[in-house]
Symmetry: C2
Subunit: 256 residues, 2 copies
Amino acid sequence: MRDLSYKKRADICKNPTAKKLFALMEQKQTNLSVAADVTSSHDLLELADMLGPEICIFKTHIDILDDFTPKVTKELRRLADKHNFLIFEDRKFADIGNTVSHQYRGGVYKIADWADIINAHIIPGPGIIAGLKEIGGPKGTGLLLLAEMSSSGTLAKSSYTDAAIQMAESSPDFVIGFICLRKLSDNPAFVYMTPGVQLSAGKDSLGQQYQTPESVIHAGSDVIIVGRGIYGAKDPKSEAKLYQNAGWQAYVNSLT
Amino acid sequence: MRDLSYKKRADICKNPTAKKLFALMEQKQTNLSVAADVTSSHDLLELADMLGPEICIFKTHIDILDDFTPKVTKELRRLADKHNFLIFEDRKFADIGNTVSHQYRGGVYKIADWADIINAHIIPGPGIIAGLKEIGGPKGTGLLLLAEMSSSGTLAKSSYTDAAIQMAESSPDFVIGFICLRKLSDNPAFVYMTPGVQLSAGKDSLGQQYQTPESVIHAGSDVIIVGRGIYGAKDPKSEAKLYQNAGWQAYVNSLT
């Protein structure tokens, strides 16, 4: 059970991106994020426009698009504003501070110019947060730390997860929450997002493990991230509505 | 002290990239890798051509180039063949198997088309190796696992390092070695590469910690990775020769 609604947590958040996220989740009645793991820019933008009304976050792997141009992220930004969702580039930054600041700001993708949310592994130590914050802090973007993963045999557990929580608590203005499988902290400003969600639990051939929307929200997570379950469906729009409804009902039922 | 020369280890290696690496290290008398962390394609290619004769590996962060085009990697590949060095794209893959296979093969950078060596974090579990091997295995490329890092407060230590060694030993045909600070295994086919090397030890403002060529080779590592110490120097060519000589002498002195 959860004590505070998304709306109340929006009021508590200091980071502008976290505040905006919780507010739009309440307003649109959705805790669904779609993981748009497609390799064509056309498919990516079509998904964003089609699913925009159902989602709170559009999660991208911009570096798997075979035909990327800067126009893609410009158009994605327009769709995010049109449908009121946030863009989360799932880059999983994982290098020393000096390198990630270049990777976040520069290169072909210029992630800092269009992504509201990014994420990072904590393995390099706290320098990675400092490096990303140099770029994202002034823009008011938000960083998620990978505290747990949904893949089989992951090392993101026990003391590693604890270290992620501690690092987040040391940078609460820029770290807005976690990629994880459950609620991890008593700080209501942190948001929990869980990947590997499908309507039926299961596993892929490369170790990904699936949980259902109900079990994820019941574990105290806030956002369900659904990939192949939606973009791989015959009718992604109808499927997204099923997930949106399942996720939202689970949230409503979890409120005390 | 080390029992086996690079040459003898070339004979032992099964992976063609590892075999080629040890052979060319012996032939060119260099264990120096330059980390070419520049943001201009012109500077990158100039460094590769200028430093090519001194190095065994040219390490790239292709995603920090502000003006990348596919011509850059084509030209880099030509220079690698001209000067007989390997290209190591320091991508630090860190996602589930299905995602990293897309990131390795596809996108704008098509890393699998030009990089001899890539690296990965083990946090997602063994699926990350399986996903990368699907693409790199048939090409004969080599994967390094990040077992240790040079940054302050890194979590890549103790049981995490042990897990990396175990995962490498489970995939010895594709995993050719480690990013680490020292020799980690008794298997002479594994290569150890250490970043954060400068002629004087020290630290940067975002947590990077530096060791000297001598201390790194003395700890049993095989390849010294030098970034700002070379590309940030007034005369990178002369500086690279200093590092090449320091690294090679330390190796020669370490042979029993």
